[in-house]
Each structure stands twice: as C-alpha cells, then as structure tokens.
Symmetry: C4
Subunit: 198 residues, 4 copies
Amino acid sequence: MNTSRLEAFSDGVFAIAITLLVLEIKVPPPDTVLGAELLQLWPSYLAYVVSFLVIGAIWINHHAMFHHIVRVDGTLLLLNVLHLMLIAFLPFPTAVLAEAFHRGTDEPIAAAFYSSILTVIGIFVNAMWRYAAHEYRLIDPHLAAKKVRKLRRQFLFGPIAYAIATVVALVLPWLAVLLFILLNLFYLWPRWGYRSTP
Amino acid sequence: MNTSRLEAFSDGVFAIAITLLVLEIKVPPPDTVLGAELLQLWPSYLAYVVSFLVIGAIWINHHAMFHHIVRVDGTLLLLNVLHLMLIAFLPFPTAVLAEAFHRGTDEPIAAAFYSSILTVIGIFVNAMWRYAAHEYRLIDPHLAAKKVRKLRRQFLFGPIAYAIATVVALVLPWLAVLLFILLNLFYLWPRWGYRSTP
Amino acid sequence: MNTSRLEAFSDGVFAIAITLLVLEIKVPPPDTVLGAELLQLWPSYLAYVVSFLVIGAIWINHHAMFHHIVRVDGTLLLLNVLHLMLIAFLPFPTAVLAEAFHRGTDEPIAAAFYSSILTVIGIFVNAMWRYAAHEYRLIDPHLAAKKVRKLRRQFLFGPIAYAIATVVALVLPWLAVLLFILLNLFYLWPRWGYRSTP
Amino acid sequence: MNTSRLEAFSDGVFAIAITLLVLEIKVPPPDTVLGAELLQLWPSYLAYVVSFLVIGAIWINHHAMFHHIVRVDGTLLLLNVLHLMLIAFLPFPTAVLAEAFHRGTDEPIAAAFYSSILTVIGIFVNAMWRYAAHEYRLIDPHLAAKKVRKLRRQFLFGPIAYAIATVVALVLPWLAVLLFILLNLFYLWPRWGYRSTP
C-alpha cells in the first residue's frame, strides 16, 4: 500500500460522502404548497452547506497532511480507516441537525451530537499526524523540524474548537452552527488555512 | 494541491451526482397497475434526462476550462468547492421538478427553483474563469489573449440564458424545461459547444 | 478530452450504478418474521444478481471497445453521455422487475421494460462503435479491417438478443429473466465473450 | 484489461459500498425525544462500525493479493466481478443486522445471514488466489513458493472463521458480532494481518 493508493481511496470516500449529503433533503410531500415548503426546508439547506464545507475542508486538510507523508505503514492505514469511518458517518448527524432545526426542538442535542463527531474526527487527524511525524517515522525527512511542530499546533486547533462548540451547542445551538460555518470558511479561506503553509 | 488532483475529485463528484439522479425515481407502490404507473412517471424520466444532460454538459465544460488552467491556488480551490456544492445539490431540484409536473401544480415555482440553481452554477463558472484568467494568474501563459476573451464571453452565455429561463419558468414552465434541454444539447452538441474551441 | 479521462469518468458511473443496486433491496418492516421475510425477498436478490452481471458485462465490453479507440471527438462524447444515461438508469428497471416478481403480477410488463432498456443500451454501443470505426475515424489505424468487421458483428448480437428477450418477456417473463442471466454469463464467460478477441 | 484498471474499478466499488453504509441509519421520526432516540439507534451504529471494518479489511486484503498478481485473464475477471457483487451487497445484511438488534428479535437469523455472506466472500477470495497462483498462472514469477503457500493458508483462515461464526450466530448472536469485530481488527491490526507479510 503506497500513499497515492491510500489517498485515491480516501478521495473516493470524501467525494461520495460529500455527494450523498443531498439525499437527506426530502422532496415535500404531495398536498402541500410547494413554494412555502421549499422555504421551510431551510434547515436542510443550512445543514447541507455546513457539512459540505466541513467535508471540503477536511478533504483539503487531508491532502495537506499527506503532502508531507511519504510512506504508509499498518498503523497509519488503520488510523486512516477509522478516520474515514467518521467522515462517511457525517451524512447522519447532518440529517439529525436538519431534522432538529426543522422540528424546532432538541436543537441543543443535535448540534452537540454533530459537533462531538467533528471533535473525534479532529482527534484522529492529530493522531495520524503525531504518529507519522514522530521522529520523522513516515514523513519527508527534509521537512524542517520547525514546520513539523507548526503543523502539530495547527492540527490541535480543530478538535479544541469543536470541543468548545460542543459545549456551546448545549446552551446556544444556533451559535454552534454559526461556529461550524465560520471555522470551515476559515479553513477553506485562501491565505489562512493549512494550505497557506506551503 | 495540483490541477489533476482537483479535477479527479471534481470528476468524482460529477460522476456520483449524475448517478444518484436515478434514486429520485420511485418504484410504483403495490396495488397499482404497473404498466400505467410506469407511463405516469414520465415527469421523473424527463427530469432525469434534463439533469443528466445538464451535469454532463457542466462536466465537459469543467474539463474544457481546466484544460487551460495550469495552477491552483486557495481562491480557485474555494470557488471550485462552492461550485461542486451546487452541482451535488442538483438531484434535489430535479426531484422537486419531477414532483411538481407529477402533481400538475406548482410547476412554475419548481422550474424557476431549478433554473435559479443553474444560474448560480453558471455564475460560479464565470467567477472561476475570471479569477484564473485575470492577468494570466493561473492559466497557460501561451493561451492567446483573444482566446481568453472569447472563452470569457462564452462562459457568460450560460448564466444569462438560465436567468432568462428562470423568468420564463414563472410564466411558462414547460417552455423553460424545453429551454433546459435545448441549451444542454447545444452545449453537448459536437462542433458548437465550448469543446469546439480547441 | 482524451480517452483515458472519458474512460475514468465512465468507470466511475459504472462503479456507482453497480453499487447503488443494493439500495433497492429494502429491509423487512418490523412485526414480521425476519427469516421468512428474507426468503420472500428472493425477487430482489435475483434482480440484483441480474443487473450486477449486466452492468459488469457492459463495463468489460466498454473497455474492450475503448481499447481500440485512440481519440475522442464531440460526437463520440455525446454518444457516450447518452449511453451512460441509460446505464445509470438501470437501478430503476431493476427495482421495477423485483417489485413485479414480488407482487406476482405485471411480470411481463416489468421484464419487457427492463429488456427494452437493455436493447437501447445495445443500440448505443453499436452506434458508438460504428461512428468510431467508420473509415477508421477514431480507432487505432493498425487494427485489421477483418477485426473491425468482426467486432461490428459481435456488437450487433447484444441489441438483437435483448429485442428478442423483450418480446419473450411479454409472454414468458421468467424465460426472459433466464435469458438475461445466460446472456450476461455468456459475455462474462472466459474465452467466449468480447474479451476473448485479443 | 490490466490489473491497475481492475484494481481502480474494484477500489471504486469498495469506496462506494463503504460510504453507502450510512444511508441505512435512519433519522428518528418526528414526535420522539431526539436524545433518547439517538441512543436507541446503537444497533445501527454497531452494525455500521462492524461493516466499515469488514469492508476496510477486505479492501486492504484485496490490495495485498493484487500486489502479487501481474496479469488478469477472463476467469480472474469473472471471479472478481462475483466477489464485488457480494461486497456491494453488504449494506443490506448490515441493515438487517441493525434492524434485528433494534427489534430485539430474530438476532440469530440476522447474524447468521450476515456471517454467511462473509463466508462466501472469503470463499471467493480463496478461489481468486488459488486460480491466480496455480502454477504461477497470473502471479509474479519471482514470488517464493513458500510465500505462495503461506498466503494460501492465510486466505483460508477467513472463510473458516466466518463459517464458525455463522454457527455461533444461530446460538449466541452477540458473540458472533463480537467475533466479527475481533476478526476484522485482527486483519486491520498492524504487524498481524496480511499486510505484515511483505
């Protein structure tokens, strides 16, 4: 198993998970006024946008990490499979989030559920990088030690931010959703995110 | 992130979105006459054909554009993610369109909803090209300036046509659906579409 | 657009369509005896197997054809998009076939519907080969003329067989399903199918 | 058809099947307490984790096998298509397993159904290897005879273990599910699984 094969498989899972998100948006049932129904589906649209940005940002982040990883071993492979297991799970908390905001009840639990999954994803990102970078085990030996440490700090930011968002969600679910959007626009934003570190 | 990686991921999303369209066509429920039911599903078949042609044409168009783009930066990456977010969304307005024609009510709002999504997709296509081509920022430096301008004009045609179709849809939804088909056959047609410009 | 890009996109649609087939098999509802229900789902398993073999055989056939095609033009691209439109549609007639055999009524119309889609797919296969091979327009110039004619005859076999199966289906739907299985095992069978012609 | 094309198509089916698993987890219906409902869905989460590990392990195993296979012929192609037919089927027994544990009845039949599918998958893995390795028909001629025999013994372990698990499932379904998890962690575990044999 080489890194390009692992990346191609991971890319496949990312692309499929991101495209399956739309299946959670259900067509309004007959005997409704379509225009009004399409407007009332806003929680589904919002959840779709949030999760599309989330998966898009994790995908870019995954590439940024594997740009520095030159070999794969069994442990990294296992960590990556577990990481993908959580990515591929995201359409479910996305649908739960949309459903809760649609109902107008249980938003705190839905947003906290969503955010806690992202926290665990972030922990796996850190585990992968720390395992690969430990004593240059699997990364490019020419990568500067300063850069390795910098990336380690940057990867820490994600799970901490999502852990905070999980707590926020239990009190102010709306604010948590806003945090999800801002966080991922931050990651995707040119010049700021991980990619900006060449 | 290089262009081939970005194209491969985009191709994945195109291929998945185009293949998911069929999931919106539901098998007739028991206790119906199957032959008659299969005929009554014509709005679903029509919507399937329209969206398949739409996504196929956008896919070919995407390649035609990236044929000239030689580098990717953060801004183009973000624009492309937002572009894919709308492509992957298309199975939903497709299902809404089929549902409205099946019901025989609300066709104008469904067709206008569909057409407005395509308009926004067209705007993103233009934003990507304008950003990439501005002062040859990311495109092949050997591309003739005349050709760059020609492509810019061609890309403008899409969102303008769909914006007009959106207005038409509110009055004559059938005519709008006909316009969708004609527009995309035009794009896919050998010798006429963007591909014909070598 | 080069052939490898076209093949990669086509492969994606084949892989997705073949994997989506399983979504049409629904878990038995609560308050049923699971063991008995799993047995009663045999029409779904049968339809799954038939369509998996069908798409698998068409996929292998597609590669065998593109093995000889060295260039792509707009017409071939359009024919291929229309071809893929029918491949990606197959999960629907598959579900209809399973539903009809599950109900125990309307099997003739379901099997004929299924078979007629395969007939049209076969017609597109022929159109693609004839267009590409006409005066060696897009195929390898070193391919022997005898081989070109042989392939043309072989490709003709598919739509003729499926057209016959469509008529058979209207009278003896069970025999038609048996024909689908035999036909595709024939295509997939080592030494006999198209692949055996090196 | 070369091995890289076959592997790319197989990878696509693996990636799609593994990502479709989440679609079987249904959002709790309205008029329920979301927090409690999310907890009661544990059988779905468990089945998701089991099948994700299963498909992940089979995917890695598939690569390990094709690492040694240097040519493809019609028979191997047919065996691989039949193998993929069972992989792509896995979301269904996964959903059945989750449903049975959710109901609290019929767990033995559901777990035995699941396990028997995995047994058949394992039999196909063995058939593929034995066919390819027989008198070095399709494998690397430099592979040591000792290694070929070792791999043959290793591949035998899977279907035997799953056949035993099928019997166990009929009596102690919980123990069978535990066996599925342990077996696949064993396969995925660094240093132990097939990958550890370089």
